[in-house]
Each structure stands twice: as C-alpha cells, then as structure tokens.
C-alpha cells in the first residue's frame, strides 16, 4: 500500500513540476529575442536558494514569500542602457501580492493586478508572479522599452489570482492608498514603524499578517492584523504583546496612552490578533477599533 502511495506521489510531483515548468516557459516565450535595437544578452533561470547566486542576501525577501523560481533575461543594445526582466514565481498569488506590497508606494493598475512605474522601472504582480523590469539608466528608448516588455509579460500571464483574505479586515476609511503590507515573516513587522527587534507575536509561515497605515503623515497610526491557526494561539500572542506594551492597562483591549502621548490597543477576535500603534488620540484609536470590528 505504502509503495502505491509513493508511486502516486512521485507521478504527481513529476506532473506538477512539469506544469510549473511549462507555465514559466510559456511566459518566457512571449519575450522577444530582439526588438527596437535591443537583443537578449543573458537568460536568467534560478530556483529557490540558487537565487543567492544572483542577488545574494536580497534573495531572502523572495524566499520569505515562498519563492519557487525566477526566470527572465537581460537585454542590451548599442548605446542603450541594459534592461533586465525578472519574473518571480511564488507559491501563491497571495505571496506574489505580498512581495509587491513590499515595493510599491502607491496603487496603480497599469499592468497586472497592481503596478508601479518610474522612468527606470516597472513592477507589477499578477496571479503567482511578481515582475520587475528595470533599466540601468533612463533614456527615452529605455522608457519605451520597459513599458513594451511589461505589456508583453502582463499578456503572457493568462489569469489573475486572489489577494490574501486577511487584507479584507482593513477598514477603508483613512487607509493610506498603497499603504499596507502583507507578510508572514516576523522581519517585516517593522516596515512602517519600529515595533520590536524580535518575533514578539509568533509570526510564522503559517500566519498571515497585514500592517496598514491610516491618516495623514502628521497624524499617522498603524493597524496590525495577524491570523493564527486558532483562537488560543491568537490569545497567547496577544498576551505577549500586552505584556510588553501595556502590562499596566486595565482596559479589556489593553488600551493605553504611552510615554510619547500616543495610544496603543490590542485585542483578539476569533483567530485574529489586532493591534493599533501610534494612535494620536483615544478617539482615533476607538474609531479604528470600531471600524475594524465591524469589518
């Protein structure tokens, strides 16, 4: 019996890896070997930790989001700045979206399901893919070229994917456009403000987390939401946070005004832990709490 299951597993693995490979190849097939004075000078193909060979420690960002592989190529042309196309394939569309939220500063949807462009780069996410197209220098030809390539890659990815469900807990009122980050590695908890230099609430690859900015820059507060496997785990993490941030609070939601005058609050709701940091007033924190609970 055991042998049969092993056989099924091996066959499935081969089929799955074949599917993934063919999808990657399918996307790559849409990249031209040459166009507008540019020609492919190098093909890129890295899987998992082999990405260290390409970007050293920078690979950890993608690995923390479940990278399966990266393909792409470099284009060169006489008198033209080099252009690099990198197509990162993640384990899920949620993870592709997560990597995207690490980079984008504003929300655009020119390409894929969310994108951001400057004159020297375009980045976007679509389905399980996170795509970056960059040019070494800015020239009119290179600006045109990176947008041309972005369109091609966008079209080559046939379907869209879902954002992680946890982003739906974020109230929309006063949410800064493009101002939230999805993650499941504790390193990213400090993305918008320093919270702790260690894994204070047991974030892991099994937890989904979102950190969001609310309000204007001069009155900014932050909402953190983390989904655990069960309510008890969420409560345990919430206790750890309370013990470190508001041990003296008698409030049921650990609301407390801190030494810098800002307000902190944390609570759980089923499997979810919530925390508000840097609230400007008790009223601001209460309103964000109310809107979050309503969600």
């Amino acid at each position: 019996m055991c042998c049969i299951w092993r056989y099924v597993f091996v066959v499935c693995s081969i089929c799955l890896s074949g599917m993934v490979y063919s999808q990657k190849v399918e996307v790559m097939k849409h990249l031209p070997e040459q166009f507008d004075g540019y020609k492919v000078s190098e093909w890129l193909d890295y899987e998992g930790e082999a990405l260290y060979d390409y970007i050293n420690g920078g690979a950890e960002l993608y690995l923390s989001y479940g990278l399966t592989g990266m393909t792409g190529c470099k284009y060169s042309g006489e008198g033209l700045p080099q252009i690099t196309v990198e197509i990162y394939e993640m384990t899920s569309s949620a993870n592709a979206f997560g990597v995207y939220t690490q980079s984008r500063d504003r929300e655009e949807i020119e390409y894929g399901q969310g994108s951001q462009s400057f004159d020297d780069f375009v980045l976007f996410w679509k389905d399980r893919y996170y795509v970056i197209i960059t040019s070494q220098k800015i020239m009119p030809e290179s600006v045109k070229a990176i947008h041309h390539l972005a369109s091609l890659v966008d079209r080559a990815i046939p379907k869209t994917g879902d954002k992680p469900a946890i982003v739906n807990v974020l109230p929309q009122k006063n949410l800064v456009p493009g101002g939230y980050l999805y993650f499941h590695h504790y390193i990213w908890i400090n993305a918008y403000l320093f919270i702790a230099d260690y894994n204070i609430i047991n974030i892991s690859s099994e937890t989904d987390a979102v950190l969001a900015k609310y309000g204007d820059a001069d009155a900014r507060c932050y909402l953190l939401a983390v989904e655990y496997s069960d309510a008890d785990t969420a409560k345990a993490a919430c206790k750890q946070l309370k013990d470190k941030f508001a041990p003296e609070s008698t409030d049921a939601r650990s609301k407390l005004q801190l030494e810098d005058g800002t307000f902190f609050m944390t609570w759980t709701q089923e499997k979810l832990l919530y925390a508000i940091f840097n609230g400007n007033s008790s009223g601001q924190v209460e309103e964000l709490y109310r809107l979050t609970v309503k969600n």
Binding site: E49, Y52, Y54, I55, N56, G57, G58, A59, E60, L61, Y62, T84, E86, Q102, S103, Q116, F118, D120, F121, L123, I132, T134, Q136, K137, I138, I187, W188, N190, A191, Y192, L193, F194, I195, A196, D197, Y198, I200, A217, D218, R220, K244, F245, A246, L258, E259, D260, F264, F277
Partner: protein, 296 residues
C-alpha cells in the same frame, strides 16, 4: 541577545527626556557599550566631486581620501598618515564591493591602492577584490585589510555596510542571513579577517536611501551626497552612515520611514560583538568640506 520593543524605547526616551521620536525608529544607538573611548569618524564632502558629470573627479576623490586620513590619524601629510596605517612589509587586501548597481567607485579603489604602494608595499602584495577574496592569494596572505564600499539600503540587512562587506570571506554567506543579518559582526572573527583591518572607508558619493527591488539600483532613490566616511571603528562609521540614510528618508518621504528591515547588525556589532560604538554621543565626528544638507 538582548531584545527591545517600541515600548521599552519609549520608556527609556521618557527617562532621558530627549531624543524623542528620532530614537524610536532607530534602536541602533540606544544600548551602546559603556565606558569606551569615543570613536573618531571623519566625514568629508566636496561639492566639486561630480562637477564634470556623472563620474567622480579622480583628483577630488584623492584629495578627499588624503584629507580624511590625515584628520583621522592626526598627521599633517598624507605620506605620514598612510605610513602610520600600512607598513612596507604588509601584504594588503583592499576589500571593495562590486555590486553592479552601486559598486565602490574605481577612483576610490585606485586611490587606496596608490597610497598603499606609496608607503612602499610592492605591487604584487596589494590586491583589490570582492567576490574572489577567498581564493585571492594576496588576501589569503594578507597582514592588513582596507575595507571600502558604498552605503545603500538592503532588502534583508536594512543597509549594506562595512560590517556586511566582509560576508564574502565567509564559506557560505547565506549562513549569515539569519535574523535579518544580525550576526554579521561575527564575520570579524574569521581567520582571514580577524585583527587585520587597518582602515574603513564608507563611500557616500551617491548613497541609495531606498530601493524597489533587491537587484536594482534606483536613481530615483539615490542622491549626490558627495561624501565619504573614514574611521578605524566600523560600527561608528556604519552608524554615522545610517544616520545620513535615515535623515534622507525622512526628508524624501516627509514622514519617519524606518528601514525595512531595521539594520540590527550595526547595533549587534556594538552590543553583542563589542566591535565598536554605535551611539552617536560616543562618536567623535569630524566634518570637513561642504556642509550643506550633511544631515549629521
């Protein structure tokens, strides 16, 4: 390792009644070792560095390095200053950085090599290298190292620093990625490195204060600061560079925008590995040259 939370910093800040919000996104300097003598760091800037275009002016670069080394050592002439750092009998590895987007400028590498040769070290006992240091015979026999690289934000360590620049001496660099590279200070214990570094130069010609992708240098997020930092204490030099990067981020983003992830390895190099001082109040910062928007 000692851990720290925002609340602990707030309490500490309230007791100190100073520093306020600036400290909050910068835990690096809040638990520095006590009782150590201040570390000297020289910041030199020159407005003419890029007067000729996009390439640094080699003569200006040489002048900046010479002046910085003189002030750092206390000697009046570059010849005296360099002779106090390198001996003719030394074998010298100049650890540079070749990252495609923002490498150590060739003008810096060439100046450093020229000064080492001027001291009297034979040419076959000086080498400039980055990724090949482990196999490089000069580095393998080195009695002295000079550490130089540009500063930029980094997707996993917060910032690329002098402390991080020695990761190429490691057998397996990814072994030092744990906890967003907080263990980088331990690189200084590697046999090829331990006790050999004579000078640290952090290039701040066009630092990168933010990034969109780990593999990409972004013109949008770099600026002509036209400076370099020199010192004997890598933690103090990196810590000073970090302050400049953070100040630029505040100016650009118009809000406090902490590095993501925070540059824990600089603090850890101070508190865990005792390699130097990250606390600005214990760093003797000497500023030379162009001072506009120096941020420190």
């Amino acid at each position: 390792m000692k851990t720290v939370t925002r609340r602990e910093l707030l309490k500490k800040t309230a007791i100190m009644a100073a520093g306020g919000a600036i400290l909050l996104n910068r835990p690096v300097c809040t638990w520095a070792i006590d009782g150590s003598a201040s570390s000297r760091v020289v910041l030199i800037r020159n407005q003419q560095l890029y007067a000729g275009g996009d390439t640094p002016d080699a003569a200006v670069c040489e002048q900046m390095i010479d002046e910085a080394v003189c002030r750092l050592t206390g000697y009046k002439t570059p010849a005296e200053a360099w002779a106090s750092i390198i001996k003719p009998s030394d074998t010298v590895g100049i650890k540079t950085n070749q990252w495609n987007g923002l490498p150590t400028p060739p003008e810096v590498n060439e100046t450093l090599k020229a000064r080492v040769l001027t001291v009297g070290v034979p040419e076959d006992r000086v080498s400039v290298d980055d990724r090949g240091v482990k196999q490089n015979p000069v580095f393998r026999d080195a009695t002295a190292l000079i550490n130089t690289r540009p500063m930029r934000t980094h997707a996993w360590s917060g910032v690329g620093t002098l402390l991080k620049n020695y990761i190429m001496f490691a057998e397996k660099p990814s072994d030092y990625h744990e906890d967003s590279c907080s263990v980088l200070g331990s690189l200084q214990e590697l046999p090829m490195v331990k006790g050999k570094t004579r000078l640290h130069i952090l290039v701040m010609f066009t630092p990168q204060f933010h990034h969109v992708a780990p593999s990409k240098f972004s013109e949008e997020y770099s600026w002509k600061y036209n400076g370099l930092l020199a010192g004997f204490d890598p933690v103090a030099v990196d810590s000073t560079g970090l302050r400049i990067i953070e100040a630029k981020r505040r100016e650009y983003f118009k809000e406090d925008r902490p590095l993501n992830p925070p540059a824990k390895h600089i603090a850890a190099a101070d508190t865990r590995y005792h390699l130097g001082t990250s606390d600005p109040s214990k760093i003797e910062l000497i500023k030379l040259g162009w001072d506009e928007n120096s941020y420190v």
